[in-house]
Amino acid sequence: MKTWIKWMIAKIILIGILLGLLLYAKRDSTSVSIVIAMLTTFIVILFLRIKNPDKYKTDERLNKLYSRAVAWSWQITLLIVLFIFWFNYLELFVFTVDAIINTVFLTMIISLVIFRYFFMRKADIK
């Protein structure tokens, strides 16, 4: 079995376990909606990867560019966390735990998508 398929299955199982815990902890329509949305997304991604394996194949160049994108995404997320800390400390803005988690989560995903798009268009990085 190809390596990426094994990783995909492992990720799905891990996320399934985490989502199972989430559902157990908080039984409401939001949790169920999140579970359905994420499961659907993963099934679609898996289907696309199986159907077009060459399109999603990575090599050393793409791995290098993707690592740089992840690094930048983490730096932006860290900056956002820093802002949240100081806003909270100076009582400029009151954040709930849910708001912080959602902000950090969305920042990570959106910044990763943006930086990945930016870096994947480059030939190489130094």
Binding site: R61, L62, D124
Partner: protein, 64 residues
């Protein structure tokens, strides 16, 4: 950096896709290598040299 990948590829009747599959990279990587815009790892350079039956120094030319 300049490369002679294109010339050597033509010599052995290999397309960019053929070479990419032989060395285990995407076709876009070969494109960028031929243009001299991507610096390959030593492993990749060695694999390309092996496929094109040449030495690394003969394929990748670094300008000073």
């Amino acid at each position: 950096m300049k490369t002679k990948i294109k010339e050597l590829r033509a010599k052995y009747n290999l397309t960019q896709d053929d070479l990419a599959k032989k060395v285990g990279v995407r076709r876009e990587t070969i494109v960028f290598l031929e243009k001299g815009k991507y610096n390959p790892s030593l492993q990749l350079a060695h694999d390309i040299a092996k496929v094109l039956k040449s030495k690394i120094d003969d394929i990748f030319i670094f300008k000073k």
